[in-house]
């Protein structure tokens, strides 16, 4: 029973790894920093695991405490990651300059974040 579910998960892992290499190899060097930042945000998905562990029924106190911190860290990773990446990507502009004059992109509200 668990053997087959493990093998299924393993299959998914292998496919995902190949998929990952394919998709990432198409990212130009220009965007490597947002790529680092974006994948950083994506691994914030661990928040799902943290919530499940911290919030599982009949969890004892220790589990809840450790899980609590896991949720804090996971949320910081996910939220912070997408916000930072959005800030970076906002800056990539084509030549007919935007109305924006010189000066950083700080404080320009990120849209569509969590």
């Amino acid at each position: 029973m668990s053997d087959s579910s493990f093998l299924l998960e393993l299959t998914i892992l292998v496919l995902a790894i190949f998929l990952g290499f394919e998709v990432i190899s198409k990212v130009p060097t220009l965007l490597h920093t947002p790529l680092m930042s974006g994948t950083n945000a994506i691994h914030g998905i661990v928040i799902v695991g943290a919530i499940l562990v911290a919030g599982q029924p009949d969890a004892d106190t220790l589990t809840q405490i450790v899980g609590f911190f896991a949720v804090v860290l996971g949320t910081a990773n996910a939220v912070g990651g997408f916000v930072v990446t959005d800030r970076m990507l906002e800056m990539f502009k084509r030549k007919p300059g935007s109305a924006r004059s010189s000066g950083g992109a700080d404080g320009a509200g990120p849209e569509g974040t969590v």
């Binding site: 945000a41 799902v48 589990t63 860290l73 912070g80 997408f82 970076m88």
Partner: protein
Amino acid sequence: MNENLTDFLYLVTIVTFILALRFLSNPRRARLGNQIGAAGMALAIVVTLAQDLESYKWLALAMVIGAVIGVVGARRVKMTAMPQMVALFNGVGGGAVALIALAEFHNLAPAAARLELNLSVAMIVSAIIGSISFTGSLIAFAKLQELIGGRPIVYPGQKVVNALVIAAALALAAAILVGPESQWLLVAIVTASLAFGVLFVLPIGGADMPVVISLLNACTGLAASAAGFALHENVLIVSGALVGASGTLLTLLMGRAMNRSITNVLFGAFGQIQTGSGAALEDGRAARATTADDVAIMLSYARRVIIVPGYGLAVAQAQHDVRALADLLEQKGVDVRYAIHPVAGRMPGHMNVLLAEANVPYERLFEMDEINPEMSQTDVAVVVGANDVVNPAARNDSTSPIYGMPIIDVDKAAQVVVVKRSLAPGFAGIDNPLFYNETTSMLFADAKVAFEQLLASVKNL
């Protein structure tokens, strides 16, 4: 929530992540892709909360705290501190994984029957890699933030100590698998792994941080995937794999760009000051100093100028001044381009982000391989805060530690201007024969000051 619906919605999240990465192939769609991924993350969180859980109040509190930390940290960081921020968020993710492993093991272990092997292995793997990633990232953050020295911290017997620490962790892991499923063993494993994370990153020089950060990013992804195996969550398995693939690919690209093997970067303590580095420079050669006015003339009457930025540009925060000068020169009919070396800066693509922040249109940025053939037709190459990536010793001097690393061939330009505060060696501690070339002049000034002066001088012409 119905289990099928849950699994289906997690699948939607997976698709959004894949799209987020796919859209990163083009600057125009990249930002949208990131927003799609963020929506997918939000969906996954909502779906998870809709499971049959307890203590929602605590969960909500934890999420609010985490969100505040994330948003405040992400919005207030200066763009130039981007590498540090990525390192920090990465570490935080790794820490989360390690905590998940500990909590879940604590939950499952005091069981009547032994845990299934795939579960215990998955928890151990995620605990080890998550912990290494956590402390490793914190050290990387400290090095980039210059809280600790950028020079590699080396001591005798270091490699042996590192090997022993990781061997201890693995031995304890084996103990759990064949022996008592004791939580204390897992705690010991986590402790050893935390220590290893510190010891492993300490000896790596500041200039090699791009490789380290990519690698740690891959590690956190891997740890997340392992956690997915422990919790039977496909969304974690797939997402972790995508991140792991990305980090691995970037790490390999960095290594190739430096023409060094990854093991050499990670274990070679490269960035130490080289006392006998390469051929000794001839005595009596002096680097020729120049002034802003002279350089202004050189630039204004050039047909083609190529600017080579390096980490020093980020440190001096001079990217806006550089762009202002480039704009002025372009008005005068000069063709201004930027040559970006793959490992310039402290993160992959660091220079691109720096210049993008200054509103430099990205069509003006050229990769090393594209722009090197143009160097011989370039009138002036301006090197700002870059050192090793333009060091001809990498091409000519087989005894040099950087021999073989592909560089930007600025010495092939008709004239070279190097903007540098002094003749002190860069992070790699190697002397740069470029400075003593016939066609090279040194503009000894802080990059920001230098470009402000250049701007003023060019305006007066």
